[in-house]
């Protein structure tokens, strides 16, 4: 089991600035552990992967259960949405690159320029996220117009379930993004955005998850 | 002189008419519609019900109980047909006497129970086992209650006219009907297929006969004071 590795990590970790390795409050700095919010993000991703794995297996079982599966054309709009989401990942990358110094990973104080640019990129990311969600809803309407509803056929049922679940999770990301922007704006950049790496991890994952779902839906429906 | 007599007579007549108007009118004799419900063709043969699952009921029946969806009698008579006034009758207030429905020997007694809308219905469990009453109402509210052995009767009523199939969820063979009507004039045919609707004031009526399997037939009947008219119904039966 991983205990030994952990111990190694500890001994490595205990080499810290003198005076900090005693029981005083600064002890934690001597531990090269990831940001807790980032750990949280990864654990969350772990759980979400599990959920969608469950949904997927349900889909496969259900499709195998009875030959009543109707295949339908995915709304073109979805591909546009995909592009939007991919771009948003890109812009978030640009944002965190600029805000990194703000995020307290480097000793240098943030340059005013980096900060303002970073904020703009964050805002753009937020906007793109919003567009994606709206786009998804429009895609639903397109499908509904072809009278494919939630209960029409297992294929459409799963389509709505998948897109809805993904959308819900993405809204979580959007909320986090908004919170981050507010926090930064309030303190114009001096607030340490420790949540930003976690947020990026989550956002990129949402991105990947969508690609997976899109492929799955293309193959299955 | 003659004129005086005439006047006098007229006066008397007037007086008489005055008096007549004052005194309560003797009710006009009411009429009756009676008749017989029969079938043509061959009805399906009723099947024996195996109650082995419920010994406490099985032992109450010397001969196996038969299904009752098309119960027939001698002379092609058709049982369990509800004959009622479907038009021309002005329904009075719901009667105060209760419509009683029994669960006995894992059978519904009677198989078909007509009642007037709003009339109180009382359901008894006379068996040593739990029963479950599930009237599959669509117009009226649907409910589904179990009635353990020896528990108090269930009181309920239906406000809208409807033909409601009743089933027991515990004993699938138990099937019956609540027939909720908007009139107080109704009857269910017995084994001889005969019925009679009494106490009908003179007038023009639509008489309907309803059978759970063969649907409804209607007849126009006009009766005067104290008349008795006959209305016969004939349903077409199929073996399957």
């Amino acid at each position: 089991m991983g205990i030994d590795i952990q111990e190694a990590m500890h001994t490595a970790g205990t080499i810290g600035p003198p005076g900090l390795s005693d029981g005083s409050r600064l002890y934690t700095q001597t531990h090269p552990r990831p940001e807790r919010s980032e750990t949280g993000a990864w654990i969350g991703i772990f759980a979400i992967v599990m959920s969608f794995a469950a949904f997927t297996s349900a889909m496969i079982v259900r499709q195998g259960a009875t030959p009543d599966w109707v295949h339908f054309e995915l709304p073109r709009l979805l591909y546009v949405n995909t592009l939007i989401l991919l771009t948003s990942s890109l812009t978030l990358g640009l944002a965190s690159k600029r805000l990194r110094s703000v995020a307290g990973f480097s000793a240098t104080a943030p340059t005013e320029k980096a900060y303002s640019e970073g904020m703009i990129w964050l805002a753009i990311t937020l906007g793109l996220g919003g567009f994606f969600v709206i786009g998804q809803i429009l895609a639903w309407r397109v499908l509904a117009a072809q009278s494919f509803f939630l209960s029409t056929n297992p294929s459409s049922s799963f389509f709505y379930v998948f897109t809805a679940m993904h959308g819900a999770h993405l809204l979580g990301g959007i909320a986090g993004l908004a919170y981050m922007i507010r926090k930064l704006a309030k303190t114009n950049g001096t607030a340490r955005t420790t949540g930003l790496p976690a947020l990026s991890v989550y956002w990129h994952f949402m991105d990947g998850l969508w690609i997976y779902l899109l492929v799955l839906l293309m193959v299955r429906t | 002189m003659k004129t005086e007599l005439l006047l006098f007579a007229a006066g008397l007549a007037l007086l008489g008419s005055e008096l007549g108007a004052g005194s309560p009118p003797t009710p006009p004799a009411t009429g009756t519609i009676s008749g017989k419900v029969t079938y043509t063709g061959t009805p399906p043969k009723m099947k024996p019900i195996d109650m082995a699952k419920e010994p406490s009921c099985a032992k109450q029946h010397a001969t196996p109980v038969m299904t009752e969806n098309v119960a027939t009698g001698p002379g092609n008579s058709l049982e369990y047909v509800v004959v009622y006034i479907s038009a021309g009758d002005t329904p009075g207030a719901a009667p105060t006497e209760l419509a009683r429905y029994d669960q006995k020997g894992c059978q519904y007694l009677p198989h078909v129970l007509p009642m007037q809308a709003g009339q109180v219905l009382q359901i008894f469990n006379d068996d040593q086992t739990s029963h479950n009453i599930h009237p599959l109402a669509k117009v009226n509210p649907e409910w589904n209650k179990s009635q353990p052995a020896g528990s108090a009767p269930i009181d309920t009523k239906y406000d809208k006219p409807e033909f409601i199939p009743v089933k027991c969820n515990i004993h699938p063979w138990m099937h019956g009907y609540f027939v909720v009507l908007n009139t107080s004039h109704y009857a269910v045919t017995g084994q001889d297929g005969s019925f009679s609707l009494k106490g009908l004031p003179a007038g023009k009526y639509t008489v309907s006969a309803w059978h759970e399997q063969y649907g409804t037939q209607t007849e126009e009947v006009t009766i005067g004071n104290g008349e008795t008219k006959t209305a016969n119904f004939t349903f077409k039966a199929l073996p399957y």
Binding site: - | K45, I49, D50, K53, K167, N169, I170, P172, W173, Y240
Partner: protein, 266 residues
């Protein structure tokens, strides 16, 4: 206190085991060709686990006894040999137990569920519904009529949704509320459900099989004892679950033929 615990635990253990050993409450005699293996499997498991149970509980009581009433001066004693031999022993012993049980058990299971029914076996269609079983025999023509769910009508006794009007094969199908089979003749059932999940359980046959709505599930057995046995539902199916049962009547060949004659078709 430790001694008290040891005594109480020992009593509980012995009483519990006694009732198993004395067969005070026990399975009904098996009447199937496949049940013997199940019973043997049960006995083996009983002995194996009985030993484990006694050993475990008595050891616990014994140690508790030993660990009680120590004065402050007394030193604690380490467990002889430490953890490693104990763990290895456990792994090996339980491992062997598991291996044998699986090896023997899978055969007992296979005999019931992984074999094909004898082609000559009597085919009977079983339908479970809230809350009764109904059984359907092919009748003289040796064919089952088609099933049409929308035609199902308990009121007229058409439990299977047959269509005798248009389906000649359905007319002579025999539908009963009891499962009647000849002794020593293989019987092949097809289980399907009208509404929700149910289960087919006959203790004496040592078989249990769920009905799954939407599936036709095969189950076959051969009854070796004439008599009347209960078929009960073991899958929670609604308010009448407790009362969902039917009878399995195992008859001599002659009685069976006689019974068939008395049963009319649709």
């Amino acid at each position: 206190m430790g001694k008290v615990f040891a005594v109480v635990l020992t009593l509980i253990t012995l009483v519990s085991v006694a009732f198993f050993a004395m067969h005070t409450w026990w399975l009904p005699p098996d009447i199937s060709t496949t049940g013997k293996a199940v019973d043997r499997q049960l006995d083996e498991t009983l002995i194996g686990t009985g030993v484990l149970f006694l050993a475990g509980q008595l050891m616990l009581g014994f140690f508790a006894w030993g660990a009680s009433d120590k004065d402050r001066a007394e030193k604690i004693k380490p467990f002889p040999g430490g953890a490693t031999p104990l763990v290895t022993a456990a792994i090996i012993l339980v491992g062997i137990e598991i291996f044998t049980l699986t090896f023997v058990g899978s055969k007992a299971w296979g005999a019931i569920y992984l074999t094909q029914p004898d082609p000559s076996s009597i085919k009977i269609d079983v339908q479970a519904e809230q809350f009764a079983f109904y059984f359907r025999y092919q009748g003289p023509d040796g064919k089952f009529g088609g099933v049409h769910p929308e035609k199902i009508d308990d009121g007229s006794g058409n439990y299977f949704g047959l269509d005798p009007a248009n389906d000649l094969a359905a007319r002579d199908d025999i539908v009963t509320a009891s499962l009647v089979v000849p002794v020593n003749k293989p019987v092949a059932l097809t289980l399907h459900s009208k509404d929700v999940g149910h289960s087919f359980y006959v203790r004496e046959l040592r078989v249990q099989q769920d009905f799954v709505p939407g599936l036709d599930i095969p189950l076959h057995f051969t009854a070796t004892q004439i008599g009347k046995y209960e078929i009960v539902c073991t899958q929670l199916c609604g308010l009448g679950h407790y009362n969902m049962k039917a009878y399995l009547e195992v008859m001599s060949e002659e009685d069976y033929q006689q019974w068939l004659k008395t049963q009319g078709g649709q």
